[in-house]
C-alpha cells in the first residue's frame, strides 16, 4: 500500500471527525493509528457512530455492510482507516 493512499484516507477521515464530532483541528491532527475511537473518544457515542458511518459512505462512495460494523472496526483511528482503504481497494 503506497503511503500516499494511507495519508489521503487519513486526511479525509480526520476532516469527517472534525465535521461530525466538532473535534478541534488540533485534536484531529493528533490522532495516531493506535488512538482509541469507539469506547475511548468521549464524543463518539453510538448515535455519533451512526452518523459517522453514513458520512463515510457518502464521502468515500461505498456501502458499509452492517455485519462489518463492530468494536474491532471502530476500535482505533488506524482500524477504521484500514477498513476504509480495504473497501476502496476491493471496490466492494
Amino acid at each position: 500500500m503506497p503511503d500516499s493512499s494511507i495519508s489521503k484516507t487519513d486526511v479525509r477521515l480526520r476532516q469527517l471527525l472534525i465535521d461530525l464530532l466538532g473535534l478541534t483541528p488540533a485534536r484531529a491532527q493528533a490522532l495516531r493509528p493506535d488512538s482509541g475511537l469507539f469506547g475511548t473518544m468521549p464524543e463518539l457515542d453510538s448515535m455519533a457512530v451512526a452518523g459517522l458511518l453514513t458520512e463515510i459512505e457518502d464521502s468515500f462512495g461505498f456501502i458499509i455492510d452492517d455485519a462489518d460494523v463492530d468494536g474491532d472496526m471502530l476500535a482505533t483511528f488506524g482500524s477504521l482507516s484500514a477498513y476504509i482503504r480495504q473497501k476502496i481497494n476491493t471496490g466492494t
Binding site: R12, L20, M47, T54, D66, V69
Partner: protein, 227 residues
C-alpha cells in the same frame, strides 16, 4: 418572523413565516426525525437571510413531529404529503410564485408540491434514514438481535410506517434542483461548502453552510421568478 398555524385533513399544525407578503414564497420541508431538530437553527437563519433579499418562506411542523400535538409515530408518509399539499393551498390564488425547498428526508414528501419548481438539499431515501436509526441502536451493548430497533432508540414507529418509509425514495419527475455538500459524492446539480449538521450530535450552526444555502436559494428563486 411570524408564528401561525395551518390546517390539513388531520388537524392543525404550527408554522413560522418570514416575509409573507413577498412575491416569491418558498415552502421549506424540514428533515425528518432528529435531523429536523439539528437543522432548525440553520433553517430559521436561512429564512431570515432570504427575507432581507425580498423572498418569503414558510416552515411547517409536520404532523406528529416538532410541536405537533399528535403522538409521535401516528402520522404516515401520506399524511405528511397531504400536509405539504395543504401548505401549497395556503398560497394558492395569491398571485405569489410558490416554490418548495426540501431538506434531507423532506424530499420524500415534496411530490405533493410537484406542480411548483422544487429544490433539495442532500435528499435521502427512506431506507438510509432508517438505517441511521438502526445502526445507532445495534451498537449499544444491551441490544440483542431481533429486538425492535426503532422502539429501542426512542423512535416508536408502527411497522406499517416503517415499511412505507423503507420503500420511499424522492420523486424525480419535473424541474428539481439538487444540492449536496462538497464531501458528498452522490449525484447533484451543485455542491456547496459546509458540514453535515444533520448528522452532528450537537450541531450548533455553520455560517458557511447558512450563507451557501441562502445564496443558492435566492439565485434559484430569482431564476424561477424570471422564467
Amino acid at each position: 418572523m411570524e408564528r401561525g398555524d395551518y390546517s390539513w385533513a388531520g388537524g392543525s399544525e404550527a408554522l413560522v413565516r418570514c416575509a409573507p407578503q413577498a412575491r416569491v414564497q418558498i415552502i421549506l420541508l424540514p428533515p425528518l426525525f432528529d435531523e429536523a431538530n439539528r437543522m432548525r437553527k440553520t433553517l430559521t437563519s436561512v429564512m431570515r437571510a432570504l427575507a432581507t433579499q425580498g423572498i418569503g418562506t414558510l416552515l411547517p411542523d409536520l404532523p406528529a413531529m416538532g410541536e405537533s400535538l399528535l403522538p409521535y409515530g401516528t402520522a404516515t408518509l401520506a399524511d405528511w404529503q397531504i400536509a405539504a399539499a395543504a401548505l401549497g393551498q395556503i398560497l394558492a390564488g395569491q398571485e405569489q410564485l410558490v416554490l418548495s425547498a426540501a431538506f434531507r428526508g423532506g424530499a420524500l414528501i415534496d411530490k405533493a408540491l410537484a406542480q411548483h419548481p422544487r429544490w433539495r438539499l442532500a435528499p435521502e431515501s427512506g431506507t438510509r434514514l432508517l438505517r441511521d436509526i438502526k445502526r445507532m441502536v445495534s451498537l449499544r451493548p444491551d441490544y440483542a438481535a431481533g429486538q425492535d430497533p426503532y422502539g429501542q432508540s426512542g423512535h416508536a414507529l408502527p411497522p406499517a410506517f416503517v415499511a412505507a418509509l423503507e420503500a420511499a425514495t424522492p420523486d424525480m419527475a419535473g424541474q428539481i434542483r439538487t444540492l449536496r455538500l462538497n464531501d458528498d459524492r452522490t449525484e447533484a446539480d451543485a455542491r456547496i461548502p459546509g458540514t453535515p449538521l444533520w448528522r452532528r450530535s450537537e450541531p450548533g450552526e455553520d455560517a458557511a453552510l447558512t450563507a451557501a444555502l441562502t445564496t443558492d436559494l435566492a439565485t434559484w428563486a430569482k431564476q424561477c421568478a424570471a422564467s
